[in-house]
């Protein structure tokens, strides 16, 4: 990206909820993409549709009270969620309404590590992580 475009994006982006390019988020997605290629030779890019299926579930294998990511993050990712055990409010997951989503690599990885086993009974693959973020960038 060249300078004028970057500047324009910055100006438009301030205060706007556009799912605009965000370098930190792009870097996180790129890292999962490299990892997905290593894990799976046949990997050919992340998919919004697969991300949506992961998000909505229902899945089996994890805790029975959390059959989907949507159980805590709500079925509408633009709406605030709620932790199903504690009642704690959770900010929306959709990047369009919450532009700070997926911008801190350590936080993102920490939550995948905690949340995937609760829902799926196993860790998420790099492909699933990228699908999940891609779905929420497009919502």
């Amino acid at each position: 990206m060249n300078r004028p475009v970057l500047l324009a994006t910055a100006l438009v982006g301030v205060g706007m909820a556009a799912a605009a390019a965000e370098p930190a988020r792009d870097a996180i997605v790129a890292a999962y993409s490299r990892q997905a290629q290593n894990e799976n030779q046949a990997f050919d890019g992340f998919s919004t549709a697969r991300g949506e299926r992961l998000y909505l579930g229902p899945h089996t294998g994890g805790n029975t009270e959390t059959p989907a990511c949507a159980t805590c993050h709500t079925f509408d990712p633009r709406a605030p969620g709620r932790h199903v055990k504690t009642g704690r409010a959770i900010e929306p997951m959709a990047v369009s309404v919450n532009p700070r989503r997926f911008t801190d690599a350590a936080d993102v990885e920490k939550r995948f590590t905690r949340d995937c086993p609760n829902v799926l009974g196993r860790p998420c693959t790099a492909e699933e992580k990228g699908d999940f973020i891609t779905f929420l960038i497009n919502r």
Binding site: H83, K85, T86, G87, R88, T113, R114, P117, N118
Partner: protein, 142 residues
């Protein structure tokens, strides 16, 4: 809505009265790592709400934290552990890790079980459902 809820609970439950818990105003959390890492799944509870022994038990068992994996890198765990222990409360049973199972909590919260089962409350530990200023350490709602 919340005020109304608390009012309802007080009238329905027979006032908890001014039985001094000494905890109606506790210092807010002044340690960013604790506020961030312990405030994700529930409100970050102020250190004064539990004695040091309870905090140490909690911080030594984060991998199985009330059925959740809340583990953190060792340096973060150590810094949060030190903050909570240094600012812990003086009363309470250090063998009990739940605030909601300490005897003062039971005395201040004698509600019918139907109250606890209300969907907007969900868990006894959801202080914010009834104490709107709980995150500032303010449990004095009169």
């Amino acid at each position: 809505m919340r005020r109304w809820l608390v009012a309802l609970i007080i009238t329905a439950g027979g006032a908890a009265g001014a039985a001094a818990s000494g905890l109606e105003r506790v210092p807010a959390i002044a340690h960013p790592a604790t506020a961030k890492e312990c405030g994700e799944c529930h409100m970050a509870f102020q250190p004064a709400l539990l004695p040091a022994g309870s905090w140490l038990r909690i911080m030594d068992g984060l991998a199985d934290h009330f059925g959740e994996d809340a583990s953190l890198p060792a340096d973060l765990t150590a810094s949060i552990r030190a903050y909570l222990a240094a600012n812990a409360g003086r009363s309470g049973d250090p063998k009990i890790t739940r605030i909601t199972e300490q005897s003062w909590f039971a005395k201040e919260h004698r509600f019918r079980s139907a109250v606890w089962q209300r969907p907007e409350i969900k868990a006894k530990s959801n202080c914010l459902a009834c104490h709107p200023r709980a995150e500032q350490g303010n449990y004095d709602d009169d």
